[in-house]
């Protein structure tokens, strides 16, 4: 019912309404969460090994680097951009970090720091290209994809970095309260970014820039700064993911992370974000990510041959999103 907000409207009432709307839109009514639930339930029945603590931990460890880059990707996509470069930024960061770690066996954390820094530099260049030089994000980050991938080979002289001190594995393989460090890091990043997007003015700025860049500019938002920042963040998170990945296997290859960008973007879009910008949430991305990672794990557990896995994954993702779109249209 249309109602005039009368003078002295009870603020708490409208707050309660807001919360109800949020719950309805974001969680329970989100059919994608339901799809993930279905997949979880199916695998639990299909394989006795699926719903075990050990296996869930395995899923989380595998998900961690994707969660990092998907967070950054969410921000970029919210502004209406795209970051295709994360896959090869991971490779470049991992290679740079590994070389530094190998050269400084007494200060292995330097390896991780350098990986993050390398990612940040790549992201910052993306930011300059998009925000400063007005390149379409697709072109800018595609150019970075190619360049960073080439540099990853250059850094290692074409070969993977071998002979990294075993201690470098500590970052990704230390267990804390039963879960590996990367998993905790994933939780931390997800919570921080969810808060950032929901509760801070930075989040509002990102949504505004993606929702209507002209209006955002006229409202005094420094559009360039916002654009710049999301690419920098995405790059830094890709760098961190690269560092963790190479710490996990204590090696670094120029092909590390190849193709990860598509999985990350898929997670964001499956989670309900629009590639036109302005729509999407960290929570949605998490759901999308869980769908992909659970499928990867469950199909492996059921020993489905690799190529049938691709077929099933493709079909299921299309189906889940189709149902989601259908439900969303029915609601409106």
């Amino acid at each position: 019912m249309t109602q005039l907000i009368a003078a002295g409207t009870d603020v708490t009432v409208s707050k309660r309404l807001a919360i109800a709307a949020k719950v309805k839109n974001g969680m329970i009514a989100n059919s994608m969460s339901l799809a993930v639930l279905c997949v979880l339930v199916y695998f639990s029945f299909a394989s006795p090994h699926f719903a075990t603590a050990g296996n869930l931990a395995t899923i989380l460890v595998a998900a961690a680097p994707f969660a990092l880059i998907a967070c950054g990707q969410t921000l970029v996509i919210l502004t209406g951009g795209i970051d295709l470069s994360v896959g090869s930024v991971i490779a470049l960061a991992a290679m740079s970090g590994a070389i530094v770690a190998k050269a400084n066996p007494e200060a292995l954390w330097l390896g991780i720091a350098v990986a993050v820094a390398a990612g940040l530099v790549c992201g910052a260049i993306n930011g300059i290209l998009v925000a400063g030089l007005n390149l379409p994000a697709f072109v800018a980050t595609l150019a970075m994809l190619t360049t960073a991938s080439g540099l990853a080979y250059v850094v290692g002289g074409g070969a993977p970095i071998n002979g990294i001190p075993a201690g470098f594995g500590a970052f990704a393989n230390t267990t804390l309260f039963g879960l590996e460090l990367p998993v905790w890091l994933m939780f931390l990043v997800l919570v921080v970014f969810a808060l950032l997007m929901r509760r801070t003015t930075y989040g509002t700025r990102v949504y505004a820039v993606g929702g209507n860049i002209t209006a955002a500019r006229i409202a005094g938002i420094k559009v360039r700064g916002v654009l710049y920042s999301v690419y920098a963040v995405s790059g830094a998170l890709a760098g961190l993911a690269g560092g963790l990945l190479s710490s996990r296997v204590v090696t670094a290859a120029p092909t590390l992370g190849a193709g990860y960008e598509l999985d990350a973007i898929a997670a964001v879009v499956i989670g309900g974000a629009s590639l036109m910008g302005g729509r999407g949430t960290i929570w949605g991305t998490l759901i999308g990510l869980l769908l992909i990672q659970t499928l990867n794990n469950g199909l492996d557990l059921l020993l489905v041959p690799s190529y049938w896995q691709s077929v099933i994954k493709g079909a299921l993702i299309a189906a889940a999103v189709a149902v989601d779109v259908f439900v969303a249209r029915r609601k409106s």
């Binding site: 509002t204 505004a208 209006a215 302005g278």
Partner: protein
Amino acid sequence: MQLHSTQEYPDRSPDAPVVECRDVHKAFGHVSVLKGVDLALRSGTVTALVGENGAGKSTLMKIIAGQEAPSAGEIRVGEKTLRAASVREAREAGIAIVPQELAPIPDMTIYENLFLGRELKGALGLLDRSAMIAEAGRLLREFELVVDPRRPMRELSLAVQQIVEIIKSTSTGCDVLLLDEPTSAISEVEVARLYRIIDRLRERGVAMIYTTHKMEEIRAVADRVVVLRDGNLIEDRPAGEITDDQIVTAMIGRDLDEIFPEIPPPRDEAPRLLVADIEVEGFGTPVSFSVRPGEIVALAGLVGAGRTELIETIMGIRRRRRGSVTVSGRAVRRNDPAAAIGAHMAIVPEDRQVAGLVPRLSILENGILPRLSRFSVGGWKRTALARSRVTDVMNDMRLRSASLDQPVAALSGGNQQKVVLGRWLTDRVDVLLLDEPTRGVDVGARSQIYRIIADLASSGMAIVMASSDLPEVLGLAHRVLVMRRGRIERDISLATTTATAAQEEIFSHAAGFHASPR
């Protein structure tokens, strides 16, 4: 001059309705917008559809045009019931619409937009572009619009886009034409040209609905007045049998006293806003003027006079190559809207869709957008504070909405306009720049907005208002700057001139009859 050279129009009995809405209901979720509307349109008549913002006018038109599905009820053309939400069927039945929120294809040229869906073809069924260009040029000239039909739509001002949209719909040979606030962005000269076209269509037997918030327009075109209130059709009478006051009362459910409030004289202080020697992009003559605290200065002129550009340049949205803008004695950094906001300037842009709102964000979030730092501590949003302040100002603006968490896209056009103005008022504003501030706003809300503007002026704000609405200019401003080709032709003080004299002077200077020799 004839719009349609080849189309044959069958004889119709003048009384048979061309199109008929039967018991049309519409609800968005739980919000009921139309509650059983019956409306029959007859050939060769113009029906003025009026009502407050959010009354459901646009919704009804969209349902007739097949853009929305009714929740219940039907649209009939002749003996046939149209399929719900089928633009195609509506089109084939001869229904055309000029939508309230324009839908141009920005990357296409004017002529491509004009001929969209009915392209002219030559040999082999290939497009005949030169024929389309020539014909488009003719249609534009008929509207006295001197613009190359090969220009892309995105380069044109909102006004020109609206004219193109009007030409597009009126030249299709439709039987039913729905005009949803077709004059919201254009000035009186163009409006007069639209009247001529409407008269011609009426003679040809086209049935029209015309939505507007301006009484003069109702009087000029309507044969019949239909009033919607809260989704109900509560008045349906021949135009000659209803007075202006009756229309207003039917619309807003109460009597409206004087539309224009008492405007106190400006304070006798140093200028609050000082614009010196700035060039309006694309024109090249420097412009200077000043506004004192409490003063309302109107910018008048024809479409394309450069008012929008001037305002945008002052706010730092357009590039300023030279000159200065000073607020309360302090120079404002150029080309930086954030600096302008920091200097307590505020703007209500002409095109709220493009420049004003982030449609997917909620009213609350749009409400705090220009004031993010005020509603945050260290970047953390103070949601409770924001909610209470935005609720306050939106109540002052008499915003109609289900809740502050509704996306602004779901508001009616007039209510969106209130959000665009209201959101600045959560904090101090010294200089308020208004570009067509009451575009699409209903009379009730308009008088409310005028009152707010008057209050803001009396509190010491300097207000610059570009408006194509002459009564608004005469009723609100202390001073009128008449613009033409990017320069100020004339500075008229309304305190010392009578309304009629001022009106005449504005017209003649805007049209260039007094053009100063260069």
